[in-house]
Amino acid sequence: MKLLRRTLIATAALVALGAQAAATVGQPAPDFTLKDTSGKTVRLSDFKGKHVVLEWTNPGCPFVRKHYDSGNMPATQKEATGKGVVWLSINSTEKASSDYLEPAKLMAWKQERKSAPTAVLMDEEGTVGKSYGARTTPHLYIVNPQGVLVYAGGIDSIPSARPADIEKATNYVKVGLAEALAGKPISAATTAPYGCSIKYKS
């Protein structure tokens, strides 16, 4: 019995490791199940048939604040969901981090900034973040209706914490979604994400 359990754990660990290496643009996006801020379970595979944006977030990070306080991220979300795209904001900050916000506080922070994602998901264990190779906040991914990862990278083209740079930058997510929705390949499918390190549970 004990041996069986150990084997199962080891297998699970291996699967997790395999998944971690697998998040590559052009490959199937790793499926996941997470709870949203209200405790409801959300699965990625529930959204098959739709484009899904995954956005790693952490209100404690100045780069995230750059895009929320300026209204850039909420506007990008609104435009996307308005076109039938699913937007999932994921917080992989570990509970022990000083940046960690409880689900209700996280939701309140988002609502204050008129953020309108489909759901805000809690990933305190960091397993989903690691399986996607998410490194920074923000770090964005686009999954196509077939469940294939078609974009991984930054929110835009100017890596800085200066809100004034937003209007000069190319918003990769907006451009990528427009191309994907028009049935065209995404021209910049992998870009450099920039921001704070994700505070993963070690």
Partner: protein
């Protein structure tokens, strides 16, 4: 946290959203305490602040200061460095040019007076900062980010201007686990006429911390460093050539200058294959760059968060990427632009692979080195420092003109003497090097004692040739008859003598071969030394085996005695040269002392050659006198005066040459100016020849001046570990070496025997 907070003013005072009043109070208290501390620090630097601005910005996490280094003031052609010095609070760090998995490189935006032009940051070697499953590249403690500034010839500050106003807007991201983007405005009034050099040491340290280029591929002797994409497409197989010997066998850190290519935090394997460092580096699964050239910086791996000063030296290699970057997507089709770029990459890599395929790698280079060494050895016969010894050999040769068997035996013995001596010297050099001594070829002559001994030996040979004494007069008859009774031993010893004298003449072709020995496994290195010896002995060996050559030699006769005495003069000329070399090392006192000792030695030898009663008296007196002379003067010979550099430098600068110093070339090149370095030594005949001919050529000098090339001379006459290290980094172990350093390109190493055409052709490409 409920009330909407206004946008925090930039720079943001803190990162974590203060969610509790207590937390906010703690932060406030910390800020007050910190600013109180910094006020003290500011006061200390108040002399540098002006009414218009400050050169110091302090935050709770860093203290940043704008520094300048202008030893000659602000004037065209003079060195001018600006830099931002960042002192981090413990545990906090800022980032390198490639910040790694997160973070941002520090950004400097300058506002300078017209005519001043700031270059790129000369980034010092970073540290790898692991954060869980991620890794960053950056700096903790204190780091200076230096920027070279060129002053245009049109720079005209106006007759009344005293200072140049330097303005800097710097932005940096400082992180522990949390990150704070910060920004600062700095102002500095830089005196135009007077010296600003208070931060000279900091800039020098930063220049030392700037990675040095490894030797780029030259003449097929050193192949290119490469990054071969593995067939599975998820690994880069890196091989780096031309790293310094000191790193051999050590575990290295790799810092890619290109972001978003490798998996920064992954574990990877590395190995040393002789002089070549190899590693298998996993690629990032979300790689967004596909470069055809990947510059990387390598340095010895340091203990994580090690304390104490950072003694690592970084080396920069430009890896040629071979193979095709994997195209990530089957479904997510690639954009036409990206596809075109990938195709271009593939074509480039394919083109590059063709010449690379022909390189049988190390076996080819070893063959080339052996051939080069053989050829170099042959040419050594013509060198002025070998020719006199060969002359003795010719005298001996004619003595055995009738006996062909004796010829062959003595030819083989001579060859054995030469080859074995070369191997012994080579083994000694490799042994010393393995023991950590910084030595290179010609190192024997860096010791005044060895130079003095050689001078004594040549004086004795000259006196003997001139007929002042015969060995039989004062040596026990058994030893004296050695030459007569054992021609084989005699030939062998002549071979040894030839090597002793020939070794400093680093002839053409030899430099590269000898440099290679420093990067080859020991058996192969010794084979190169043996080939060199064989080349040197070959003409004599051929003459002893081919009767036609022997027959061509003149018959023995009375002319032989005349010829022998004539040969005493080249010997004496060699003594003069050795005394001059010693003069470079020990000064005029040392040279004088050596001369008086040589006179004493001659007196002793002459006294011993006398007969009867006179011999007893004269020998006793002269030996006593010699003992006194040795006691009084020998210390002068080996004494190396420390202040000598100061006396020689005015002479140096008068001819436009500046003395070389470690990092000086890199510093000037970073300022956008090409540099020509002459690695030379007084005892190196080839060096002296080049110096008096090509390097004194009017056309060469005017070309150098036209391209504004800085001239540096590195004098290796005495032992200097810094120069030895610089030679090693160029893949050489002896002088002469002539190098052009160019901004943004690998250095060009010229041939040992410089031709005017070659130098001018290289200058025209600068």
């Amino acid at each position: 946290m409920v009330a909407p907070e206004p946008n925090p003013p930039y720079p943001l005072p803190h990162c974590t959203m203060p969610s509790r009043p207590l937390h906010r109070l703690a932060v406030t208290l910390f800020l007050i305490a910190a600013s109180a501390l910094w006020t003290g620090a500011n006061a200390q630097f108040s002399s540098k602040t002006t009414g218009q601005g400050t050169s110091v910005v302090t935050t709770p996490y860093v203290r940043a200061e704008l520094l300048a280094h202008a030893p000659q003031g602000v004037a065209p052609g003079q060195p001018l460095w600006l830099g931002l010095s960042i002192t981090h609070q413990p545990e906090w760090h800022t980032y390198w040019k490639n910040p790694g998995d997160s973070g941002l490189p520090t950004d400097l935006a300058w506002t300078l007076p017209a005519g001043l032009d700031a270059g790129e940051i000369a980034w010092p070697l970073p540290k790898k900062i692991p954060i869980g499953t991620l890794a960053n590249y950056g700096y903790d403690g204190t780091v200076l980010l230096p920027v070279p500034v060129t002053v245009a010839s049109t720079y005209a500050p106006g007759p009344l201007a005293k200072d140049a106003t330097i303005k800097l807007r710097a932005s940096w991201l400082v992180c522990r686990k949390e990150c704070i983007p910060e920004e600062g405005e700095f102002t500095l009034q830089l005196p135009i006429q007077s010296t600003t050099a208070l931060s000279g040491a900091a800039f020098e340290a930063a220049s030392k911390a700037h990675p040095r280029p490894v030797l780029a591929g030259t003449n097929g002797i050193v192949p290119d460093s490469q990054a071969q994409l593995a067939a599975e497409g998820n690994t880069l197989n890196v091989s780096v050539q031309g790293l310094p010997v000191a790193l051999r066998g050590k575990t290295l850190d790799l810092f890619p200058e290109t972001a978003e290519v490798i998996d920064n935090a992954a574990q990877w394997k590395q190995a040393w294959n002789g002089s070549v460092w190899t590693a298998q580096i996993p690629l990032s699964t979300q790689r967004s760059a596909s470069p055809s050239l990947m510059p990387v910086v390598l340095a010895e791996q340091s203990a994580a968060h090690g304390t104490g000063p950072d003694t690592r030296t970084g080396y920069r290699a430009e890896l040629k990427v071979l193979g095709t970057w994997p195209q990530g997507a089957s479904v997510a089709a690639v954009s036409p632009a990206l596809e075109a770029a990938l195709k271009a990459n593939a074509a480039q890599a394919g083109g590059a692979a063709t010449p690379a395929a022909g390189s049988g790698a190390s076996s080819l280079t070893l063959t080339a080195a052996l051939l080069g060494a053989l050829l170099g050895g042959l040419i050594l016969n013509l060198m002025p420092c070998v020719f006199p010894v060969l002359a003795i050999k010719v005298v001996g040769f004619t003595q055995h003109a009738q006996d062909r068997r004796a010829h062959r035996v003595s030819g083989i013995a001579y060859t054995a003497g030469v080859v074995l001596s070369f191997i012994a010297l080579g083994a000694l050099m490799l042994g010393l090097r393995a023991a950590g001594e910084a030595v290179g070829w010609g190192f024997q002559l860096q010791s005044p004692a060895v130079v003095a001994s050689l001078a004594a030996l040549f004086t004795l040979i000259a006196l003997n040739l001139a007929g002042v004494f015969e060995f039989g007069h004062f040596l026990p008859s058994s030893v004296a008859s050695l030459q007569a009774r054992h021609p084989v031993a005699d030939s062998f010893l002549t071979g040894v003598l030839t090597v002793a004298v020939a070794s400093p003449c680093t002839a053409p072709f030899m430099g590269a071969s000898l440099g290679l020995t420093a990067t080859l496994p020991a058996p192969q290195a010794l084979a190169v030394f043996a080939a060199l010896g064989l080349g040197l002995a070959l003409p004599y060996l051929a003459a002893s085996f081919v009767p036609a050559v022997a027959r061509a030699l003149p018959r023995p006769g009375a002319w032989m005695d005349t010829f022998r005495k004539l040969m005493a003069f080249p010997m004496l000329a060699t003594v003069v040269w050795l005394v001059w070399v010693l003069g470079q090392q020990s000064g005029i006192d040392g040279a004088g002392a050596l001369l008086i000792l040589l006179v004493g030695l001659s007196l002793v030898v002459w006294a011993l050659s006398l007969a009867g009663r006179a011999r007893v008296w004269m020998a006793t007196v002269s030996i006593a006198a010699m003992a006194l002379l040795v006691w009084a003067f020998a210390p002068h010979v080996t004494h190396i005066p420390t202040a000598q550099a100061a006396t020689s430098s005015p002479q140096v600068s008068a001819t436009g040459w500046q003395p070389w110093a470690p990092g000086a070339a890199e510093q000037i090149v970073a300022g956008g100016r090409p540099v020509f370095v002459d690695f030379t030594a007084a005892w190196c005949v080839t060096c002296q020849y080049n110096k008096k001919t090509t390097l004194a050529d009017a056309n060469v000098l005017s070309d150098l001046q036209a391209k504004n090339v800085a001239l540096l001379r590195a004098d290796w006459t005495r032992r200097d570990p810094a120069i030895t290290a610089a030679l090693a980094s160029l893949g050489r172990s002896g002088v002469p070496v002539y190098v052009f350093y160019r901004p943004g390109k690998p250095p060009v190493v010229l041939t040992e025997v410089l031709s005017v055409d070659e130098v001018r052709a290289t200058i025209s490409q600068l």
